[in-house]
């Protein structure tokens, strides 16, 4: 499944990093990075992250 973040509304709260740490993380400069294509095993975590994002900035496809 595809993972994308709308960086025009993301506010870098890091709730996705808490919910799905294998998929989302912060780089050394505090920018958000994520795995763009994840396998089915990670679906539940990624969906939990999209659900929890306060800005609802995570797009799953």
């Amino acid at each position: 499944m595809k993972v994308d973040v709308d960086m025009s509304i993301c506010l870098l709260h890091g709730q996705c990093v808490i919910a799905a740490p294998q998929v989302f993380s912060f780089d050394d400069d505090g920018g958000l990075v994520w795995v763009a294509e994840v396998d089915e095993a990670q679906r539940a975590d990624v969906e939990a992250a999209a659900d929890a994002c306060p800005e609802q900035a995570i797009l799953l496809g």
Partner: protein
């Protein structure tokens, strides 16, 4: 920056009971400097710095030692305070937050929306014909507590008892915590017992509602222990009532000062969601959040020592004319985000609920209460920390 410049930064006496976060002194300090010195450490005044520091990896949530600093070293409240989500950091915070997320999901709000509407209408029915009410006693307090009753699956009739217990427990946040300790301890025990009974009920009748989701998370006790489950329910009650009560009171007071905006909201109910955001920008109930430095670091050339308390002044930041060139109250304006729900790892977990219930309330209030105006003396909490009206007598024309 050297220590000399630290000494030159403006000073704000935030412990003075008459201190106001909206005072001229704060405006001048914000104009002069990105931070001010205070009785407890520093206060951060400008938008970009509050935004950055809310997410700073070298800062932790700053009120975790509150009971200890108040001279209270044990007991039920102090144990709960130290263990609950807001006081936790790192792995434990992440684990608790992951376990709690499903119960606070935006999906659950869709089902609660009709209940919020019914609750708001019922409360308005109670006073509409009079053309006046105390907006806090007759609307925001029963509404904020009634929402928590809906969330927990409790009948509305329990709201008074729940509000009283939460208020007694809330004495712990005041300067007289130590004197009030017996009351606080008794209230904490009662709230924990409430949580225990709710959990027992859900274990017997599993469901997908708020408590049901938390009970499901508790199936793996290494992820959410029995005690952590109860502590989370207590936090939702404790953290959800006064905040919502105060924020809705601030909304009404703001609209009374801007009657044309209220009329606009009545005409265009779809603006209610934006109205909540705009109210929280100009009049957030949580006027600042507290952080503490976990190690020595430098920010904006200012050396900050481990253990320094940092107040992030949300109120001052989101009225900053550098970022909001037309800072007046306007529910139709496109705005940068406010900090009324905090931000970063501790961003309010209940914000979907709070945004949902306040949106429904404002929508119906604007439809049914025309031309609201002050109708007697408004009593306010201090204009700092967590603020709001204690009594708010209003008159209006029933629609």
């Amino acid at each position: 920056m050297t220590q000399e410049t630290l000494a030159e930064a403006p000073y704000l006496d935030v412990a003075d009971p008459t201190f106001s976060i909206r005072s001229q002194a704060v405006l001048e300090a914000r104009e002069a400097s990105w931070y001010a010195r205070t009785n407890y450490g520093i206060a951060v005044l400008r938008y970009d710095d509050v935004m950055k520091l809310l997410r700073h990896p070298k800062l932790r949530q700053g009120s975790y030692r509150w009971p200890e600093l108040s001279g209270v070293h044990g007991g039920l409240f102090a144990r709960w305070w130290g263990a609950m989500l807001l006081s936790q950091e790192g792995e434990t915070h992440s684990r608790l937050r992951r376990m709690a997320n499903p119960a606070f999901s935006p999906k659950l709000i869709t089902e609660l929306r009709p209940k919020f509407q019914a609750l708001a209408n019922k409360l308005i029915d109670g006073f509409a014909a009079k053309g006046e009410c105390d907006f806090i006693a007759e609307f925001t307090e029963p509404y904020a507590t009634g929402v928590i009753c809906d969330l927990l699956g409790l009948p509305f009739e329990t709201w008074r008892e729940l509000a009283d217990i939460a208020a007694e427990m809330g004495l712990a946040l005041g300067v007289t915590f130590k004197q009030d300790l017996a009351t606080v301890e008794a209230a904490t025990a009662r709230l924990l017992k409430y949580a225990e009974d709710l959990v027992a009920l859900k274990r017997a009748n599993p469901s997908d509602d708020f408590v049901g989701m938390l009970v499901q998370a508790n199936a793996d006790k290494s992820q959410l222990s029995d005690q952590e489950l109860l502590d989370m329910i207590v936090l939702a009650i404790f953290g959800g009532i006064d905040t919502t009560r105060n924020q809705l009171g601030l909304a009404m007071a703001t609209f009374i000062e801007h009657p044309e905006q209220w009329a606009l909201l009545a005409e265009q109910p779809d603006l209610a969601r934006a109205a909540v955001e705009e109210v929280m920008r100009v009049r957030p109930t949580v006027t600042w959040v507290t952080r503490e430095a976990t190690e020595d670091f430098t920010y904006n050339d200012l050396p900050i020592k481990a253990g320094t308390t940092i107040h992030l002044f949300s109120q001052s930041a989101t009225s900053d004319p550098a970022v909001f060139p037309e800072p007046g109250f306007d529910i139709t304006a496109e705005r940068k985000p406010h900090f009324g729900f905090g931000g970063g790892a501790h961003h309010c977990l209940g914000h979907f609920i709070a945004r949902g219930d306040m949106t429904e309330a404002l929508k119906l209030l604007a439809q049914r209460l025309k031309n609201p105006r002050f109708n007697g003396e408004v009593k306010w909490l201090a204009d700092s920390g967590n603020t709001g009206a204690i009594t708010l007598p209003i008159a209006f024309d029933p629609a």
